[in-house]
């Protein structure tokens, strides 16, 4: 499974970002192989449409799920249309790695729009 986590830093142990469209980075994780890679978020410096830009990135990466603190109406509409599941960070997801572990254990809540 490919999942994308909004992140503040380029480290796997670094903090996730509560924001999706305005997160500095998007970390792509392959849960099968455990490989991960960090990308600059195409939405971060946009004057508008940041959520759509970030969602388009997730779609283009063929993500199965995304994890962030919240999803705006535009991002969630685009992700929904592409059948990408949205999960919400919890207070214990203090690193990208931890968020992925919680996701794998089915411990992250599903985003409710």
């Amino acid at each position: 499974m490919i999942i994308i986590v909004s992140a503040k830093t380029a480290e796997y142990e670094g903090a996730p970002d509560e924001r999706f469209g305005r997160a500095a980075l998007l970390t792509r994780v392959d849960t099968n192989s455990g490989e991960w890679q960090t990308f600059p978020n195409p939405g971060v410096n946009q004057s508008g449409g940041a959520g759509v830009a970030a969602a388009q990135f997730a779609i283009d990466q063929k993500a199965d799920a995304v994890i962030s603190g919240d999803f705006g109406p535009h991002a969630s509409r685009a992700l929904n249309a592409a059948h990408i599941e949205m999960y919400i960070l919890t207070s214990t997801s203090d690193s990208v790695k931890k968020a992925v572990e919680l996701f794998n254990q089915g411990m992250l809540p599903v985003f409710q729009s």
Binding site: G48, G49, V52, A82
Partner: protein, 288 residues
């Protein structure tokens, strides 16, 4: 001549100045007043126009013919506003993000896009009791984009070269302010001698420098002492057009919907003088 009234910081008195300036010049010139603060227009509360026409402000948004669309994603690629997204199955349109630039329609290799009208607000026009040609834009609640309506508001105005157009700008220093200032001949900046007023004024100076628009400043609610603001303006060589002392009777009058020149008639001549001052500043600039 087009004079924009801007400030940066909100609540410094843009509309107070714009409405009184318009009224002061009404008998002498053909005056147009355009309230470009389309998110919260309030000039009508003071100028009390009789609204005669109402027109939708339109953004032309793409409509995709799913029968023709191959979801190639060319439209998504060319949309710099991220108003389109591509999924494996379809192209999504986000009308609120669309600026109506037409790039997607133009670039679609299948001609699968037609443009439909998306009303984002209304433009109302009329005449005030003094004969001022009044127009304002009213952005629909929840619409996020004020610039197209400001653009249409400015384009709509039928005016002669000799008429005076007063543009009452929105607060801030973002796109909507730039859209209001664009192609203005002069900017009157209304500010107050506070750190916040100064901070935002400096931002507007930056915009005006880029747009090459000359400006003068009105300092509102002064306390009679020489302020840091005056020194700043001296340094920047920007003329101070007027200082308005803090006065509770002005605040009370404005709160009851009266213009400054109705509350304090002596300001009528002061506004006319400012206009002459602007005319000569512009004439001097042209001569340079």
């Amino acid at each position: 001549m087009q004079i924009a009234i801007a400030s940066g910081k909100g609540g410094t008195g843009k509309t107070t100045i714009a409405t009184s300036l318009a009224k002061s010049l009404a008998g002498l010139h053909q005056v147009h007043y355009l309230d470009c603060d389309v998110e919260a227009p309030n000039g009508h509360l003071f100028l009390k126009p009789e609204i005669q026409t109402q027109k939708d402000a339109i953004v032309r948004i793409p409509q995709i013919d799913v029968g023709l669309c191959t979801t190639c994603g060319r439209c998504v690629e060319v949309c710099q506003f991220h108003a389109l997204a591509q999924t494996p199955e379809e192209i999504l349109v986000f009308p609120e993000l669309c600026h109506g630039c037409g790039s997607c329609t133009w670039n679609c290799p299948e001609n699968a896009i037609t443009e439909i009208e998306n009303p984002i607000g209304v433009i109302e026009s009329g005449i005030t009791p003094e004969g001022i040609h009044f127009s304002h834009g009213v952005l629909k609640i929840s619409e996020p984009m004020p610039t197209p309506i400001i653009h249409q508001l400015r384009k709509n105005e039928k005016r002669s070269d000799r008429s005076v157009v007063i543009l009452d700008a929105p607060p801030g220093a973002s796109c909507s302010v730039v859209e209001t200032l664009r192609a203005a001949d002069f900017a009157i900046l209304v500010t107050e001698a506070t750190p916040f007023g100064k901070h935002d004024l400096l931002q507007i100076f930056g915009i005006l420098k880029d747009l090459k628009i000359p400006a003068g400043v009105i300092i509102n609610r002064t306390d009679g002492h020489e302020s840091e603001m005056e020194q700043l303006l001296k340094e920047k060589q920007i003329p101070i057009l007027m200082q308005i002392p803090f006065d509770v009777s002005i605040a009370a009058g404005i709160a009851s919907g009266r213009t400054l020149i109705d509350i304090k008639p002596e300001y009528l001549e002061r506004f006319r003088t400012i206009f002459c001052q602007i005319e000569s500043l512009l004439a001097a600039e042209e001569a340079c």
